[in-house]
């Protein structure tokens, strides 16, 4: 009981000194953050708000200033016909939009799954000690370094049914009985896009995972070695749990990236219904079809879907961005 009476005078001055210091540091930090916040507001916040605003108007690209507010009409509107039947129209009931949502989700989940798998394998190899490791580490980043449009065009020639090297190799090795039109047929178009994306982004994944692997202290493995733990068990009991925070952050970056995939598909399979994603569809409406408001509504919904997925993922995966694990 007495400690309670004594404790406050001891703790309070200490806390006061600490919080004064903290306040000062927080103030300084805020000042340092101001330029970045202004830059973000100008290049990201303002365009975002404008897009959202346009999605509630009837704007067209040639008449942005004179746009009228139309409420949620771009998202959902209904008219009751003379026959008494009610017809729903708008983005939320547009089959082309939901097809694009489905394509995007399918693309994002599949590509990120394989990238994480291959990225982990590559990272484990690169984490081992061997001669020329530095060169191999640099070399593996080449696909990531090539601009997407260039690599997409390169792959589109490699995948070409008549002149492409993949068909030529497949035929020579006897793997294919006839030349396959990879990007043309709806069955293989998505696979072709996935292959190129996985080829391109696995190095990025590997690099992030490798950074996580190098944080794991070597003596844990030595201890496991001495105890005679099988390497496979070592991987599942030591490596995987310890690299998990880095892996989760890598996956979330990639997932966000994959959800807004545009350039690869625009170059490789433009206009193919089998691969049309949300971004591709939004661009088409914004610029090709003169439906700027409708395209803005799609862009807004894309933003909301990505935001929703991110929140869900962080919550479910208990990801912490400071590298620790909850």
């Amino acid at each position: 009981m007495t400690t309670e009476a004594i404790a406050p005078p001891v703790v309070v001055p200490g806390r006061a000194i600490k919080s004064e210091l903290m306040r000062q540091r927080a103030r300084a930090a805020r000042w340092f953050l101001v330029p970045m916040m202004i830059a973000l507001a100008v290049v990201a916040g303002w365009p975002l708000l404008r897009s959202i605003w346009f999605s509630f108007t009837d704007a067209s690209l040639t008449n942005l200033v004179g746009a009228n507010f139309v409420g949620f009409n771009n998202y959902l509107r209904w008219t009751t016909l003379a026959s008494g039947r009610t017809v729903f129209q708008g983005l939320l009931v547009d089959p082309a939009w939901w097809n694009a949502v489905w394509n995007t989700l399918r693309f994002a989940v599949t590509s990120v799954f394989f990238e994480a798998l291959f990225g982990m394998a590559v990272a484990l190899v690169l984490n081992a000690e061997f001669k020329g490791r530095g060169i191999v580490r640099a070399a593996i980043l080449i696909p990531w370094a090539i601009p997407t449009v260039v690599s997409a065009k390169m792959w589109s020639w490699m995948l070409n049914d008549q002149f492409g090297i993949l068909n030529d190799l497949g035929m020579r090795l006897g793997l294919l009985s006839q030349k396959v039109a990879w990007t043309a047929s709806p069955e293989t178009a998505m696979t072709a896009v996935l292959v190129v994306d996985i080829w391109k982004t696995t190095p990025f994944m590997a690099l992030l995972i490798l950074a996580g692997l190098q944080m794991i202290p070597k003596d844990i493995y030595e201890a496991a070695e001495i105890d005679g733990v099988h390497p496979v068990k070592q991987f599942f009991k030591i490596t995987l749990p310890l690299v998990r925070p880095a892996l989760m952050v890598a996956i979330i970056f990639r997932l966000l990236d994959a959800m807004r995939i545009f350039d690869l598909i625009y170059v490789l399979t433009p206009n193919s219904v089998a691969t049309k994603t949300m971004s591709v569809l939004a661009r088409e409406n914004l610029f090709d079809f003169d439906k700027f408001a409708y395209g803005s509504a799609q862009a807004t919904l894309l933003f909301l879907i990505i935001a929703g997925m991110t929140i869900l993922y962080i919550w479910l995966g208990k990801v912490r961005f400071d590298g620790g694990d909850r």
């Binding site: 690209l61 040639t62 008549q162 043309a184 610029f287 090709d288 003169d290």
Partner: protein
């Protein structure tokens, strides 16, 4: 001498020119294919020498859909970097607001062009662009192979299919495993709209949306035409044809791997080039006709024009450039070197052109029967109409639903798009 004469002609023809012309820096966009860019450059060099202006070519992707998206964006933003735009025949109604009215500048020359083409570039009395060349596709065929198998040039699509199949099978048995019967433009893009419009029209199935704005595409003749085309994929045409644009089909053709090809006249000069495997072995004919009532040969009207941006900082010089690039001299050069069809009536009787590009005088007839795409009645909705049409056709070609089902769906979509009116 010639250049001076040209310059004098230009100066008198351009009404807007006032006082001494200042040297200007102009930019022109071009999504030309084949040797088109090199040709354009050679003509621009002449223009530079004659006027003292400098002209930069900004190359663009060859797909007209890609070009359009970019141009619309630039024009909507009031971009003054580009002075002269190369425009597709279908764009005039959609971009009319952003281009200068050339009626006054072209008043002396407009009458020399085909009236139908000038009309296609006139929106509400405003001449949006000056025609540079017109385009109408033809059936390219290998005369050596037809001779070898003792076949006639097909007059109907059914004949084409039978002939193509027989020659393809024969050539494959002789060891050319890459041989195909027919290549066309089957990728999901504007080019497929052109191809499919020809099939539909050749079967007497109308023009998707008629001149009065009524939606006519859902009819049995149109379905029959697209069903016929779908039967080519995987038989006489490679599966990959579903992803071909002009240049991919020309690639297959020019390697000697196809009996027939549907393509624009530009492929003629390139096919006769030194590196071509088919040089001297091919000729062109009108596209085959369909079957049933109203069946005829049909060719989609294409063509390119020069328009001047209203945001140009040197509109006078830019108009001069547009007039120069559409002048008889340049059109003649273009006809001889590029086999692009002139838009000036007189050039079809030109002896030099007839000698260098004997196909051009023959093309006059093909092109006079050409079918316009429904860009005029559908106005700013044209791109979406075209996109929905090519999607329906592409779905059918790739086995995703029958032609009848897809056209029924298309009619519904178009009706919704049309709403109270185009």
């Amino acid at each position: 001498m010639k250049i001076n004469k040209l310059l004098a002609g230009l100066l008198t023809s351009v009404a807007l020119v006032g006082g001494a012309a200042q040297a200007a820096e102009l930019s022109i966009v071009s999504g030309d294919t084949g040797n088109g860019l090199a040709f354009l450059r050679s003509q621009l060099d002449k223009f530079e020498a004659a006027t003292g202006n400098t002209v930069t070519v900004v190359p663009m992707p060859s797909s007209t859909s890609d070009q359009f998206g970019q141009y619309r964006l630039w024009l909507a933003a009031g971009n003054s970097d580009i002075d002269v735009y190369t425009t597709d025949v279908i764009w005039a109604p959609q971009l009319a607001e952003q281009f200068l009215d050339l009626t006054e500048a072209a008043k002396d020359v407009a009458g020399d062009h085909f009236p139908s083409i000038i009309e296609s570039q006139t929106v509400d009395g405003k001449l949006v662009a000056i025609p540079a060349y017109t385009d109408a596709p033809a059936l390219f065929y290998r005369k050596d192979l037809l001779e070898k198998y003792n076949k006639e040039v097909p007059k109907t699509w059914a004949e084409l299919k039978a002939t193509a199949q027989e020659i393809m099978d024969g050539e494959r048995a002789d060891g050319n495993a890459d041989m195909y019967g027919f290549v066309f433009q089957g990728n999901a893009y504007e080019g497929l709209t052109c191809n499919a419009l020809e099939w539909v029209k050749s079967y007497g199935g109308g023009q998707i949306v008629e001149a009065d704005g009524s939606i006519s595409i859902n009819n049995p003749q149109a379905a029959a035409a697209i069903t016929e085309a779908a039967s080519w994929i995987g038989t006489i045409s490679p599966e990959g044809n579903l992803a071909y644009q002009e240049e991919e089909s020309r690639g297959v053709w020019q390697l000697g791997n196809s009996v027939f090809m549907r393509n624009w006249p530009y492929a003629y000069a390139l096919g006769e080039g030194a590196d071509s495997a088919v040089a001297g072995k091919f000729d062109v004919a009108p596209l085959p006709a369909g079957e049933g009532e109203g069946a005829r040969s049909a060719a989609t009207l294409g063509g390119w024009n020069y328009a001047v941006s209203k945001y140009s900082q040197d509109p006078d010089e830019a108009i001069k450039l547009a007039l120069f690039l559409t002048s008889p001299e340049v059109q003649k050069e273009r006809a001889i070197q590029q086999t692009n069809l002139p838009t000036l009536v007189a050039l079809y009787d030109d002896a030099d052109i007839a000698k260098a590009a004997p196909i051009i005088p023959n093309w006059k007839e093909i092109f006079q029967n050409a079918v316009p795409r429904p860009s005029a009645p559908t106005k700013t909705d044209y791109n979406e109409v075209s996109s929905q049409f090519w999607s329906a056709v592409h779905n059918t070609l790739s086995g995703n639903g029958t032609a009848a089902e897809n056209l029924e769906m298309l009619e519904l979509q178009l009706t919704e798009l049309k709403g109270a009116g185009w």
